[in-house]
């Protein structure tokens, strides 16, 4: 089969992608990887391009080569995600459009009026908003306080009631990079017969996760952050022992299966995947996960790289940036996410100057996590957030320290 895209050959395209990425990398410092990662590995762009230019079909809808190849591409991503999260079966990887979509499926699919749910005071709006909506529909909700940003398993255990059905726990804060003791919480959930939903939007591809070992029943992930896939990708992974009868689908529709029936199929993954999947994005996601696998030590090396960058930043700003306030000690930041403020300046002003004067891109404000900011004492002003990725370098950290030093001393 010809490898021509119609405009460029694939080799020409790969060269152009490489050049464009290098130019983009040189032009700016990107510290907003917790929002979405950038740049993407060239293999991700290549996989999306390959789908758009060669594969092209609707996965699972026909037996022609384009449909079959699309089905293969999507399945390869299921296998990659299952391997990454220690899931027993790739059929239990359900694709969604992002972590929020996956969290909504889990929260709305499990809870019924009269149930009780428990969550933490470190949640993102992607968790607390669906839970507040369920509360308005008759679900009782307990938000467990997290002094210093950490959930105490004992305190969590005391919040559990006889009618508690679901616990939703943020694996790591998108605003503060603090990790929750998921395994200890899972032990409580197991003992009390509660479904544990882990929001791994900020840890997938960054912190080693094994669903069986960690005791996670439902794992929501974003594909476009630590997994380096395109935006519009994410998913929910079901543990091997999780009973799907507990989880109602949120969407109903065409699945390419049981086409003679007007009733939604009850088998996986079709029960939860109605409508055409984002096959182009999922092809990229597969390449993104495999890029993480290809690194020496895989996820562990991502974790250590991010810790190194966060340590270097926090140690570097100490003494050289006037009025710098950090909120979490370096040793407790696990995901390369650093929230801070500069005395006398609004976070948005700092971020604007960083972007305009130094080409350093970050995110100021509340990071869609007002609950976490309340817990950490940074509501409503918010913080400046730097979130590092696998392509960030020590030189970029040093440049940002220098820039913050100049901004804080009024050399604007």
């Amino acid at each position: 089969m010809s490898m021509h895209t119609g405009i460029f050959s694939h080799a020409q395209l790969a060269d152009r992608i490489g050049m464009v990425l290098q130019a983009e990398k040189a032009a700016a410092v990107y510290f907003d990887n917790a929002a979405t990662s950038f740049p993407k590995p060239p293999a991700v762009i290549g996989a999306v391009t390959d789908y758009m230019t060669r594969v092209g079909g609707n996965p699972g809808r026909s037996a022609h080569a384009r449909s079959v190849d699309a089905g293969e591409a999507v399945f390869a991503a299921r296998e990659a995600a299952a391997e990454l999260f220690g899931a027993s079966n790739p059929m239990r990887v359900l694709f969604a459009s992002n972590a929020t979509d996956a969290l909504n499926l889990a929260v709305q699919g499990i809870l019924r009026p009269g149930d009780h749910a428990v969550t933490t005071a470190m949640e993102h709006n992607s968790v607390i908003r669906p839970l507040r909506e369920m509360e308005a529909r008759g679900v009782a909700l307990t938000v467990v306080p997290c002094p210093d940003g950490r959930l105490d398993p004992e305190r969590f255990s005391r919040s559990v009631r006889g009618d508690t059905k679901l616990a939703v726990v943020n694996h790591a804060s998108n605003a503060f990079g603090i990790l929750q003791p998921l395994r200890d919480i899972a032990a409580v959930c197991r003992e009390r017969g509660i479904v544990l939903l882990a929001d791994c939007a900020q840890t997938a591809g960054i912190i080693p996760i094994d669903m069986e070992r960690d005791g996670i029943d439902l794992l929501a992930f974003a594909g476009h952050k630590g997994l380096y896939g395109p935006t519009g990708t994410g998913g929910l992974v079901l543990a091997g022992g999780f009973d799907t009868a507990l989880l109602r689908p949120l969407k109903f529709g065409g699945t390419g299966s049981n086409s003679d029936s007007e009733v939604q199929p009850d088998f996986l993954p079709d029960r939860y995947e109605s409508g055409t999947l984002n096959a182009a994005g999922i092809s990229g996601l597969n390449a993104g996960i495999r890029h993480i696998f290809s690194l020496q030590d895989g996820v562990k090396s991502v974790h250590s790289h991010k810790k190194m960058l966060a340590d270097r930043f926090i140690n570097g700003v100490r003494g050289s940036v006037r009025g710098f306030t950090g909120y979490v000690p370096a040793e407790r930041i696990e995901t390369g996410v650093v929230s801070f403020n500069i005395a006398g300046m609004e976070p948005s002003e700092v971020a604007y100057l960083l972007s305009e004067r130094y080409g350093i891109m970050c995110r100021p404000g509340l990071h869609c996590a007002p609950l976490a900011h309340r817990t950490m004492g940074t509501f409503p002003g918010g913080t400046v957030r730097f979130s590092f990725g696998i392509f960030n370098t020590e030189e970029e950290i040093d440049l940002s320290i220098q820039a913050l030093g100049e901004i804080s001393s009024g050399k604007r």
């Binding site: 037996a63 449909s67 999507v74 299966s257 088998f267």
Partner: protein, 74 residues
């Protein structure tokens, strides 16, 4: 003339998985439309040589792909 079977599943995801497993195992297979006489589904199934049917059945049982129907295919 070669004689074939088709393996039918609940979902095409199982068909794709099976196709990949058979490829890894070096077993000849092809994705084909589901014969109308066997199912009204619009998806596809996996065609294998009838002589390989037993091996395929064992492989599927071991791998956790899930329930499958093996039918003769003309």
């Amino acid at each position: 003339m070669k004689e074939y079977c088709v393996i039918l599943f609940q979902t095409v995801t199982q068909s794709v998985w099976t196709s990949r497993l058979l490829k890894k195992a070096g077993i000849e297979r092809k994705m084909v439309p589901i014969p109308r006489s066997l199912s009204a589904d619009c998806g596809y199934c996996v065609r294998v040589l009838r002589d390989d049917a037993q091996r395929v059945r064992e492989l599927l049982d071991r791998s956790g792909v899930g329930c499958a129907r093996i039918e003769n295919y003309q």
